[in-house]
């Protein structure tokens, strides 16, 4: 039962991500990405990590939704995107690296026997509590570092986007001048 579910979702996820990479249609790529991200959560549920599964769905639906927003801005999502290949050398190099990584990933189970769980699951404790415990004991520093990085990114984003915040995008320039003149007259 579990094996059937695993292989089904494995095939589904792989197919979805393949579509994401291979299609030149922005809407197909984004939708396949979203579907793949949601199918990944199935693996968490299969492994009994309900909390992480739900978080995977919530986080990635939001993240891909932001990508959709960009897609909407940059492409006509109902048409194929014409791609420009400027440096075939770079593509060649990158695909070589990717192939190497795939080999590494597939050979990884050979040494996986050396890995053992240092923090085995505790009986009678819920899934989310367990995540919380591990997060605030063993992984406290990576967790906090990640939090700080996100904070930095957020502030940087605000600074970048907020440079011209006091300028109105909707009013035309001469309208603004008109308003200013009126104010001066008053």
């Amino acid at each position: 039962m579990e094996a059937i579910a695993f292989y089904t979702f494995a095939i589904l996820t792989t197919v979805m991500f393949l579509i994401t990479v291979l299609t030149s249609h922005a809407l197909y790529a984004l939708s396949a990405l979203a579907a793949g991200m949601i199918f990944i959560s199935a693996f968490f549920f299969l492994l009994g990590a309900d909390f992480l599964g739900a978080i995977q769905i919530i986080v990635y639906t939001g993240a891909v939704m932001a990508l959709y927003a960009f897609g909407m801005m940059f492409f006509d999502t109902t048409r194929d995107v014409v791609e420009k290949r400027t440096s075939p050398q770079l593509i060649f190099g990158l695909s070589g690296v990717a192939a190497l990584m795939v080999v590494a990933i597939f050979t990884a189970p050979i040494i996986s026997g050396n890995i053992e769980a240092l923090y085995p699951a505790i009986d009678g404790v819920g899934n989310s509590q367990m995540v919380g415990m591990v997060l605030f004991t063993k992984y406290l520093i990576p967790f906090e570092v990640a939090a700080i990085m996100l904070l930095v990114a957020m502030i940087a984003g605000i600074v970048l986007a907020g440079k011209k915040m006091d300028h109105s995008l909707t009013l035309m320039q001469d309208e603004i001048e008109c308003i200013n003149e009126e104010k001066e007259q008053v």
């Binding site: 809407l27 197909y28 739900a54 769905i57 639906t61 939001g62 939704m65 909407m72 109902t78 899934n127």
Partner: protein, 329 residues
């Protein structure tokens, strides 16, 4: 045991699907009637007694209408989008306890499909996926109004997911569980135990976010009839459009159940009176969705963003911090 559980689950799924599909139909009837009464009209009157059979007439019409896929639309995605909305609405229902457990013919029935221990997270996640329906539908239909609707859907979704999550953190910290059954048991002691008394801010925030989540009137931007025709539904016809409708109304019912379970004591101690009160409270929240539609204007997208990021989110964060301090000391 295993087969009995299996059969029970199947029956529960079928019952929920049937009941809520029917309720979605009746929801449209109630909406028309209540809106009509509030505007001094009569609403549907001619089909059946008091127009009740209007639902059947609409159903027949939707099923038999020609299903049009526009030439320039992205076919597969255009076709799958309404299914996403309807399916996710019903998937979310799996973790909602609709009634207290009761015994029938000596067999105890739990009216919940799956009491997963991350219930509320699961519901939020699946409802979030539900937003893909309008988004994909509008992006795929290659229509200007639909595209505007897609932009609005993305904006509303990204902002109000934050509010829902942050508003829920306070009650979650108090209860210490994601399961809606645990939420209910936490408040089982009577009216004094309801989370609304200790978390009024979270309650109001969650309620506001529920309007955004279901796309109801003050935040009815995604398909605002007087600005962008029907938004994502502009190019849809027949039953595909009907699926969007069923999804929307089912979502309204489910979110009403969730609000009552989270903040207003759910079904209490599980007695018959508690169950009746549960349904009554749920009906009030459903009614409120219709009430606001009659009373309030729609707000602009920029006002929606303003409200979300400058008012509601700071309030939500403050609420979490205050809850934390109160619980610590």
């Amino acid at each position: 045991m295993e087969t009995a559980y299996f059969i029970e689950t199947i029956i529960k799924i079928v019952v929920i699907l049937l009941v809520f599909s029917a309720l979605a139909g009746f929801g449209t009837y109630f909406e028309r009637k209540i809106l009509a009464f509030m505007q001094r009209r009569l609403g549907p009157m001619n089909v059946g007694p008091f127009g009740v059979l209007q639902i059947a007439a609409d159903g027949i019409k939707l099923f038999t209408k020609e299903d049009i896929v526009p030439t320039n639309a992205v076919g597969p995605i255009f076709k799958i989008a309404p299914v996403i909305t309807a399916a996710t609405a019903f998937m979310a229902a799996a973790a909602i306890p609709f009634l207290p457990q009761f015994t029938i013919f000596g067999y105890t029935v739990h009216p919940i499909v799956a009491d997963v221990n991350i219930g509320i997270l699961y519901i939020l996640g699946v409802m979030a996926v539900g937003f893909y329906g309008p988004l994909l539908g509008s992006l795929a239909s290659s229509n200007k109004f639909a595209l505007l609707s897609a932009a609005r859907a993305a904006a509303v979704f990204i902002s109000y997911e934050v509010i829902t999550g942050l508003a829920l953190l306070g009650p979650l910290m108090m209860v210490g569980s994601f399961s809606l059954i645990d939420f209910n048991n936490y408040q089982a002691g009577g009216m004094g135990d309801w989370i609304i008394w200790s978390q009024p801010v979270a309650f109001v925030l969650f309620w506001i976010a529920a309007f955004a989540e279901t796309g109801r009137t003050p935040f009815h931007l995604v398909a605002n009839d007087h600005e962008i025709i029907d938004g994502f539904g502009t190019e849809y016809s027949g039953m595909r459009w009907g699926l969007f409708f069923i999804g929307e109304y089912a979502n309204m019912f489910f979110i009403s159940f969730v609000i009552v379970l989270l903040f207003l004591g759910g079904f209490g101690d599980g007695s018959v009176f508690g169950a009746l009160m549960f349904l009554l409270k749920m009906s009030f929240f459903f009614f409120f969705f219709l009430w606001t539609r009659a009373a309030w204007p729609d707000i602009r997208p920029d006002q929606l963003m303003w409200l979300c990021w400058k008012v509601l989110m700071p309030l939500a964060v403050l609420n979490v911090v205050v809850t934390g301090f109160v619980m610590m000391f």
